[in-house]
Symmetry: C2
Subunit: 341 residues, 2 copies
DNA sequence: TTGTATGCGTTATCAG
DNA sequence: CTGATAACGCATACAA
């Protein structure tokens, strides 16, 4: 038999404790200047009645909901779920929850999801990357809602940012390969249209190679969706070239996994026949055979930093407009000297 | 210069359109019996003022927030993020959003997160698995909040459930290995204390082997945390046994990946030297070398089904108390005949 | 089909 | 330190 008592309200608690609703509210919110006796009486009543405050009413009256919203392209990528994870944990320390929305790299969807979050009354918003609809930033500014962008390092006066340089490690990867004697490079990139991070990486690959005097031929630049299968297919396509590349730069580790697995399958030796690089440093990367040379994206540190920064903004504390983390190269054994004539 | 106009309210829209607040509300909620002319006037005013309804106020007045909450152990496991993804997409079709909370397999945290979700006023709740604190189910029942459990198939009168049988495919895996002539099996399991799915799989492995007359020796039963590295370490430990197993059953695909990579690293042939099985069928599994024999957990179908079921419950429509999906074996080349003397 | 008036459960501003 | 009471912004009976 379930009890037929309707859910207890704040007023019920007040009555049971013989105090005013204001006092109950004070106890609930840990306000100062409440006598020990009163607090105990109220807490007893709360326990006795199994009272749970109503978030909607509280949000309406106080104009905050104790949660921030994050807009992430997808949870499918482990590097994002790891980031979200640390973001959420760190926010918890600030007594703040996290509302997650995904938009599958569709910026119209991102805008729609942003409206939804604002409607929910989030106290702040975190956006990923620098590619957004103008309306999104407009909306945030007009509402004077604390927000932050991350995962990039564009110094845009309109967009506070906590991120890292996507281009620099990409350049270093190319330099690493050139040093090893590779001259025929290829790139497998994620779609770049609505993804400034992928774009920055790709452009940096291409520019560095070109400036070194070994431009990457258009036939060796492949764009595919995110996924193992996609990486594997791209590898097979590259191997049909009259002069296959001796080194392949992948826009992320997952594509690189696909490439490595396809290479093994077709009995190509890594790195003797072909060197391979990734970007992310997923937990799996050091365990590949051979271990994958890649870029250690600071996903977890970024989560902590973003959490602290958005909380600071919400509380009106000063927070740098532009913060940058390191994304160091991790050179492992998937890259080696070129052995081609 | 940002405009200093405070955010427009519903009343402002009404005034601008020359109608009552009730009419604006009707347009907003797509209520029937609104004339075309009025609707257009209101929509124009909304656009002009950039009006965004206040979710808190709306929730308070209507007693629903248009969102359900889901409690998931972690987003770290791709099989969960894929599930969440399809759940969210399908809910969107029902005009329902998803609030995600994680609890890292800590049932006290799960309870705390549940309270938070309820406080937020979610219209329904989805729990994963059958292991929960009694208080959690109590709370849901006392609040008469529509809820659902999933990923398991325990027929508990207290817990409506949409899931699949974790034990059956586990039994089939063991039978498959026995048929191939394997007699020395090993198991690498995820922690089972707060995870009924892992427990069901493990127990089914052990029981089936024992009943067939080839019990798995205690030294060949290893429990490790989720992760590639953990799988690799467990493999190495198993290989130190005087009589190493000829086949290894892994509680999930990620552990199996770790095992396979460690096996390759130590130059063990799969399946000639050791057969390996997983559980999940991650996107990567068919691309391993060799492709991984595993169980195809219906994550995506489960997302759709769970979405439809919880929506039905919220709307008071009949919904089966117990629904089950298939989780078929996928036999690939990581398992083969035993070649041990 | 449209408008009026009340209430949703808290917080916060006052007095005391 | 505590209590009364007016917001908070919208939805919804009810009336017209």
């Amino acid at each position: 038999m379930t009890k037929e008592i309707p859910n207890a309200l704040l007023g019920d608690v007040a009555r049971a404790a013989g105090v005013s609703t204001a006092s109950v509210s004070r106890v609930l919110n840990g306000a100062p200047h409440v006598s020990q006796r009163l607090r105990e009486r109220v807490e007893a009543a709360i326990d006795k009645l199994g009272y749970v405050p109503d978030g909607a009413a509280r949000a309406l009256a106080s104009r905050r909901i104790g949660a921030i919203g994050v807009l992430v392209p997808t949870l499918d990528n482990p590097v994002f779920s790891a980031w979200i994870d640390s973001l959420e944990q760190r926010l918890k320390h600030h007594d703040c929850r996290l509302l997650i929305a995904t938009y599958r790299y569709d910026l119209d969807d991102e805008f729609a999801a942003l409206r939804t979050l604002i409607q929910q009354g989030v106290d702040g918003v975190v956006l990923l990357g620098h590619d957004h609809r103008e309306e999104s930033i407009d909306l945030l500014q007009r509402r004077r809602l604390p927000f932050l962008t991350c995962w990039h390092n564009v110094n845009d006066p309109d967009c506070p940012c906590v991120g890292f340089d996507n281009a620099l490690p990409a350049r270093q990867l190319v330099e690493h390969l050139l040093t090893l004697g590779h001259r025929r490079l290829a790139v497998i990139s994620a779609p770049t249209r609505t993804n400034d991070r992928a774009r920055a990486r790709l452009n940096s690959f291409l520019k560095t190679a070109e400036q070194a005097g070994y431009p990457i031929s258009p036939g060796n630049i492949i764009t595919v969706e995110y996924g193992i299968a996609e990486g594997a297919e791209a590898f097979e396509e590259l191997m049909t070239r009259p002069q296959p590349p001796t080194a392949i730069l992948c826009g992320n580790d997952t594509l690189a996994f696909g490439v490595m697995l396809a290479a093994q399958r077709s009995n190509k030796k890594i790195p003797e026949d072909v060197s391979i690089t990734g970007y992310d440093n997923l937990p799996q990367s050091p365990f590949m055979n051979p271990p994958l040379t890649t870029v250690a994206v600071p996903a977890q540190a970024l989560g902590d930093l973003v959490a602290d920064a958005i909380i600071a903004r919400i509380n009106g504390n000063p927070s740098p407009h532009h913060q940058q983390l390191e994304a160091p190269l991790v050179i492992r054994r998937s890259t080696g000297p070129s052995t081609s004539g």
